[in-house]
């Protein structure tokens, strides 16, 4: 257990702060950009689905960020602890942070007299965050490129925002604001697959030549 806590401590110290800061900034400036008080359920869903869920891309996608440096990747792979365990520890840490940020934001909405089913919207938004982040993770893992990892969920978001309901079917991310919740269950299931594949998938990468036979 101690070793996993050490992994998370390093993650929290070196890799997460900037991402958390960006998320806090995004959530912090939202009252300037969007209405966040006295909202009915439909408008609250819009704020959560179209704005707050974007933080999922920022916090979930970069769990492989340290391994972008090939030397670190080689080092991690050479250790007794499986690399998938390292990723899972980082993922769990980032998800806890994301859940906390979302909880605080939803608390703020409730405090501002927005009328909405708290638990339902919390879980629905979290499912969307997981899906967007999961898309980032799988594309990142497949391409070994952080930028593609960011690009995939952002493009997905843009297509959805540009009237993508007809193309996305059950994976339409903005369904709560149209009164439907079924899509959130599908999004959660898809997110579990994407993140699971992303973490456990073994993709052969060129290794450093050591000179040894």
């Amino acid at each position: 257990m101690e070793k996993y806590w050490q992994i998370e401590k390093v993650n929290l110290k070196y890799h997460v702060p900037l991402h958390v800061l960006v998320c806090i900034l995004i959530l912090g400036i939202s009252p300037l950009l969007l209405g966040v008080s006295n909202l009915p359920a439909e408008d609250t869903a819009k704020v959560l689905e179209r704005y707050v869920a974007l933080t999922g891309i920022i916090l979930i996608t970069p769990i492989f960020l340290p391994e972008q440096d090939k030397n670190i990747r080689e080092l991690v792979n050479s250790k007794y602890t499986k690399s998938s365990a390292v990723y899972l520890v980082r993922l769990a840490g980032n998800l806890c942070l994301l859940a906390a940020l979302l909880g605080i934001y939803i608390g703020m909405l409730k405090h501002n007299n927005c009328q909405f089913p708290v638990i339902k919207y919390y879980l629905g938004t979290f499912a969307e965050m997981l899906f967007l982040g999961g898309l980032g993770i799988i594309f990142y893992r497949l391409s070994d490129n952080l930028i593609i990892g960011y690009m995939a969920p952002i493009i997905y978001y843009i297509i959805a925002a540009g009237g993508g309901e007809k193309y996305m079917g059950v994976l339409y991310p903005f369904s709560m604001s149209t009164g439907s919740y079924t899509e959130k269950i599908w999004l959660f299931a898809a997110a579990a697959c994407l993140i699971g594949d992303g973490v456990f998938l073994k993709i052969p990468r060129p290794r450093l030549k050591t000179g040894c036979p």
């Binding site: 008080s37 006295n38 909202l39 490129n145 930028i147 843009i158």
Partner: protein, 428 residues
């Protein structure tokens, strides 16, 4: 030296996965938005409707604004654009009562119930009117006709209400809503829209085929759709390219070469610009061919270079700024920060442009909108601002690219090395 590097960079871009993903995104954008484009036909007399246009008539402005305010008051949700993009405002009881008072004074109608009744009467009357026009029995669905709800509520002002007092009341309503509402001075004029007559529609059509020479209007529409993605996707390519040398541990090898920094950065930058423009030009061939065929059959003198002009004048500055932000911030920070910055800028610009879709109100938006092949007049009126906008972003892009050259030069000399990881470690 520049030519060789340029060709090499183009080849590298063509071999990168991210470039082909960008091409796919652009194709998707084009197919979904313009895949089934219909060329405008000459309006015929006696058509059901010819669209809408803005009006300067004070009565129309008052009736439209009061109708809108009543509608939003009953819905208990107001649309505003306080810093340029969409914000939905819901008022508390005290503020809601203030809006009720304003409506009461401006329309002479007191109470939510009476307003509700007025709204119902309006839509019932609209429905009956449309059914009568189409010669159908009430209750029968009219095929191909817009539903009655599409016609916005119009409320007559109270007797004796002067335009000056109306303006004061609307300003008060706008203040209560936090500014940028449909009742602010600019918006209440923009919202006063009246149906176009046959003559209006004919004038617009003639402008499209004579002044715009058909292709001009469609090139604007093409630019409107393409610029949405072009305001963002180039940054992914730029960041990937800028980080590639570092990831491949090739920086030191390139730094010691004799080639000037300006040549290295310029060749990268121009190659990315050219490589992004290639699919845009290729996609423009589809609507261009369609327009030219139509022009040939209808005897219209179309401009075959209109798409090229609009791609270079309208879309290229947006591509350039996205690329510049990408290379500048990546060289500066050695991180993918540019994706976040450009993403945020894109988000604000996109939602900030939703009120300007009809064209003519280009402002300083990164992605100027003109979501119609018509409105040549609006384009002409807003042309000076559009040109200033495009020149500003082109200049800004060049400045950022020049700054990138300086940063890159300093890195080569070992005088500048900043990355977030180094900052974190130096504190230890």
């Amino acid at each position: 030296m520049f030519g060789q590097l340029f060709i090499k960079e183009c080849r590298q871009t063509a071999r990168s996965l991210i470039y082909w993903l960008i091409v796919l995104v652009l194709i998707f954008d084009f197919v979904t938005q313009l895949g089934e484009m219909d060329i405008a036909r000459e309006p015929k007399k006696g058509q059901e409707n010819y669209g809408m246009k803005m009006s300067d008539d004070k009565d129309v402005i008052m009736e439209t604004a009061l109708g809108g305010l009543t509608e939003e008051y009953l819905r208990e949700s107001y649309t505003t654009y306080p810093i340029g993009f969409y914000k939905s405002v819901t008022l508390d009881k005290k503020e809601d009562a203030k809006i009720g008072k304003i409506i009461n004074e401006a329309t002479g109608i007191k109470g939510r119930d009476n307003l509700e009744k007025l709204r119902e009467e309006w839509y019932t009357a609209q429905e009956e009117k449309m059914q009568l026009q189409s010669g159908q029995e009430p209750g029968e669905a009219a095929e191909g006709m817009e539903p009655a709800m599409m016609q916005n509520l119009v409320v007559k002002p109270a007797e004796g209400l002067t335009y000056e007092r109306f303006e004061e009341l609307m300003d008060q309503a706008d203040d209560i809503l936090g500014g940028g509402s449909n009742y602010a001075e600019d918006y209440r004029k923009k919202n006063a829209r009246v149906p176009k007559t046959y003559e209006d529609a004919m004038t617009e059509y003639h402008e499209l085929i004579e002044k715009d020479r058909l292709t001009g209007g469609y090139a604007r529409l093409f630019s409107d759709y393409m610029v949405i993605f072009l305001g963002l996707v180039p940054v992914f390519l730029a960041v990937t390219r800028s980080l590639r040398d570092k990831r491949a541990s090739m920086n030191e090898l390139i730094y010691v070469r004799r080639c000037p920094s300006a040549v290295i950065i310029a060749s990268r930058y121009l190659s990315m610009l050219v490589m992004i423009l290639i699919p845009v030009f290729a996609l423009s061939m589809v609507p261009l061919t369609q327009c030219m065929k139509h022009a040939l059959t209808e005897g219209i003198s179309a401009d075959p270079f209109a798409f090229a002009k609009y791609i270079l004048g309208w879309q290229m500055p947006t591509i350039m700024i996205a690329l510049s932000v990408g290379i500048f911030l990546t060289e500066l920070t050695d991180t993918a920060l540019a994706v976040l910055v450009q993403g945020a800028w894109w988000f604000v610009s996109l939602f900030g442009g939703t009120a300007t879709l009809t064209g003519g109100m280009y402002g300083w938006n990164l992605m100027p909108r003109h979501n119609t092949e018509l409105n040549w007049e609006g384009y002409q009126e807003g042309f000076a601002r559009l040109a200033s906008n495009r020149i500003l972003y082109t200049s800004l892009a060049v400045i950022l690219a020049a700054l990138t050259v300086i940063i890159y030069g300093q890195k080569r000399k070992g005088r500048y090395q900043l990355s977030w990881k180094n900052i974190g470690r130096s504190k230890k």
